[in-house]
Symmetry: C2
Subunit: 148 residues, 2 copies
Amino acid sequence: MFSQTVEYALRVVVHLAEHAPHPRTTEQLAEATLVPKAYLSKVIQGLARQGVVRSQRGVGGGVSLVKSPDELSILEVVNAVEPIRRIRTCPLGLTAHGVRLCPLHRRLDNALAGVEEAFDSTTLAEVLAEPTSSSPLCRVPKPLPSKK
Amino acid sequence: MFSQTVEYALRVVVHLAEHAPHPRTTEQLAEATLVPKAYLSKVIQGLARQGVVRSQRGVGGGVSLVKSPDELSILEVVNAVEPIRRIRTCPLGLTAHGVRLCPLHRRLDNALAGVEEAFDSTTLAEVLAEPTSSSPLCRVPKPLPSKK
DNA sequence: TCAAAATTGGATACACACATCCAGTTTCCC
DNA sequence: GGGAAACTGGATGTGTGTATCCAATTTTGA
């Protein structure tokens, strides 16, 4: 239902939010989120184009959030990489009967609206503040102490 | 969010429900739902494998619903062609901290649960019975009187 | 100024969703 | 039995999502 890229993007921003406002390198993010580094750089480029993150080259550079975690919603992140497309006109391409959706497509759109609403009303800060035994991102203390 | 195949499958079963319990040929379904005929036959094969529809060869044959419209939910149709996969374990593949989801993935799964619930609680009969000016399927009286 | 750190962009590869076509098979009905 | 109706299955084609690699570029700090 949600693409792999959306999953990756969310992991990244959650991790960035944990360390906000300090930048993290793609290398660090890849290790922390278990996302393939080469692909992660593409995902980050997308997030940067949409203004969700900012990236800085050179020594001491890296990726950081543009907004603070309490101003950034899950929806903004999702929409940056793969926008939730609400059903606004008849998918059969029939303009013959105006803008009203038929019962089937109205129900599908209602489901999309529910997801959109849930994502819109949740900030990254809320995800981090969640009172729970599990840490955000399902992270374990030290996953892979193998390379470098 | 929902694949093209899901959209096609739903159009087909709605149309079948309108004519239940009489079978419709793939040709008729393709014209009514504006789904490419060749691809539609593949979608129907999938629905048949999952027991949602039954297909009968030969003269007078065609495709018909296995259940009556008031016993068939949208969820059953969706799950037949592209199952909604709830998030039950940590997507990072970390089994280290049991079955509890982290705050991020619990929210994603909650969104999936909302969709699942909405689809599960709606039968095809309810879609057809909807009191509205738009007919189900966004159908117009005579779309394409061109071929044959 | 130069080397190292770090992102950027292009080229490439692979699998899967979407789509088409057609020969083969089943079934009905005359 | 035979022909027409109708689905089945396999082969094939195309576009997109996921993923990798590397040369080029930018930036910092010594």
